[in-house]
Amino acid sequence: MVATRSPRRGLQWDQLRTVARTDLKQLAQARDYWIPMLILGGIFFVLVPTVLLLSLTRIGSVDAVAQLSQALEILPERAQAQIQGDSEPARAAYALAVYLFAPVAVVVPITISTAVGAATIVGERERGTGEFLAHSPAGIREIFYGKLAASLLPGYLTTIVGFGVYSLIVNTIVGPDVGGWFFPTPQWWVLMLWVVPPFLALTLALVLRLSARVKSTAAAQQSSALVSLPLIMIAYSQATGSLYGGDALAWYVGAAAWVLAAVALWRGVRSVTRARLLGVADEQ
């Protein structure tokens, strides 16, 4: 028997990846999780845009074009100047594709990741597997960040894939009327790669914190909705604003969100303890 005392260690990436990969593998086995996830992505990124854009460009719904054209007048001048297309239906379809679907990019990942994240820690406790993790050499930080990654990836991947499909749909339907492929615009790239991820991380940091503290998955889902809804609204407004505003605005919004996310992630780790994994909430 040898007494050892190790120096303080940095983040153990191997353990983090192992925790994340195992959670994702379990998620892949759970149809009841990923089928609604696909349906949600399909509705927001495929069904709704296809129907709306086709009704504008092919069916030529006069009322819809008129209403949309009116709505476009309230957009900032800078945004209005960027709208392409020679005809009213084409301009309306362009505006719809570029500006009005921005919330989709926020709603889908946050909704999916929140659903996964809410159950992640309390679920370990409910299934009794928290006991295994509590007695394992996995560090608390590695467990927290591993679970965060496993919650973030399904939502973000669905969004990225959905974004790709959405781009194809938009370019195929609206492209011919506005002079060719135009999507994604530079603002959308910034939105997807710089603004959405920190909002997602911020939401998940709060959701995982709740998941560590509540007594059941049902309670975690309820509480998470309370957290994620305001965040969706904030992210919605910020994402929309970053599209309407100049390039710099999107970068500022993203930077602010990254700072908030970093603080939330740093503080979130403290909410997970081995005692909580074991279901003992009131350790002194």
């Binding site: 028997m1 007494a3 009794g128 007695h135």
Partner: protein, 322 residues
């Protein structure tokens, strides 16, 4: 010379809000031996295990495992421990293989052919290899326990902590599990096992620690504890005419005599007196039907200790030589 202590708990207390988990636990677990924590539900056995792995932080007292404090060096302590809890703590949606691989990777074994080989060897040892590709959700209780046991030894730990490992198993599976526990000490592994089933501890324990209300009531080797509670050898003698046995009360060397249900229970100052007893009886024309030395079972010991604990705390047996 006493083996080195792998675990040393001194005056450990742990409270959960107003409820005591441990009140004043002293525990010394020698290296390479099987220590059984015995006690009723709520005695603090599981809390003691959780304290040893550093999952819980003590409110008072000190915990040393492998010479270090698991609250500070918990990851290193846990890397050297294999734990099986009362519920197997397995991921039902994963296959048996994936459950084992998860544990192997968290314990830093990495991945690759050498880990696959270890997984197969551990599964073979516990007779679970054929089911490794199935989802654990479809396993029987016995299979889950076997898989949990295989997982606990995968990384070749120095210390095994088993919290009621036979919970929910049929007698045959329980017996097999206990045999495996015994085997594992053959290579020098230290085992701490919690149970409230006395027959499990019988014949398995090198050291017994009886716990009650969050504290150790008494600890020591079963033989030593029996000697402490029954300092004299006991012989049970039967005869065709039980009344004829009563003359034994006057035979030199008999410390106490009692006849119950036609059998005499005789306490002697030395087991070497037995031939004298037989000679006295046959000399008086008593036809003997049985003579058997009686070793108290762990169950009798346990209840004797628990009764004693109701009156006063006995303390650990001095000079335990387990």
């Amino acid at each position: 010379m006493q083996p080195a202590a792998v675990i040393q708990l001194d005056g450990v207390a742990k409270w959960f809000g107003p409820n005591p988990g441990l009140t004043d636990l002293d525990l010394r677990v020698p290296e390479g031996r099987i220590t059984v924590l015995l006690g009723p539900n709520g005695a603090g056995k599981t809390t003691a295990i959780r304290m040893i792995t550093g999952a819980f932080r003590p409110d008072a007292g000190s915990v040393r495992v492998f010479g270090v404090d698991p609250d500070e060096d918990g990851d290193d302590v846990r890397r050297r421990c294999g734990v099986v809890s009362a519920k197997p703590s397995l991921y039902d949606r994963l296959s048996g293989w994936d459950n084992l691989r998860y544990s192997a990777e968290l314990h830093g074994l990495g991945s690759g052919a050498h880990v696959d080989e270890r997984i197969r060897a551990a599964a073979d040892r516990f007779g679970i290899r054929e089911a490794l590709d199935q989802q654990v959700g479809g396993y029987s209780t016995g299979m889950k326990t076997r898989l949990a046991l295989a997982r606990s030894v995968l990384h070749e730990p120095e210390l095994l902590l088993y919290d009621e490992p036979t919970s929910g198993l049929d007698p045959e599976s329980s017996h097999a599990v206990l045999e495996l526990v015994r085997e594992m000490t053959a290579d020098g592994t230290t085992v701490v096992m919690c149970t409230h089933l006395l027959h499990e501890a019988q014949g398995l324990a090198d050291q017994v620690v009886v716990m009650q209300d969050g504290t150790d009531v008494v600890s020591g080797a079963p033989g030593e504890l029996a000697r402490r509670f029954w300092p004299h050898d006991v012989v049970r003698i039967g005869a065709e005419d039980p009344a004829g046995l009563d003359l034994l009360a006057r035979v030199p060397g008999v410390v106490a005599y009692e006849r119950r249900d036609g059998v005499a229970e005789v306490r002697l100052d030395d087991l070497a007196r037995v031939p004298d007893l037989v000679a006295a009886l046959t000399g008086a024309g008593v036809r003997i039907t049985r003579v058997e030395p009686h070793e108290p079972s762990l169950e009798q010991l346990y209840f004797a200790i628990r009764q004693g604990a109701g009156r006063s705390r006995l303390g650990a047996v001095e000079g335990s030589t387990v």
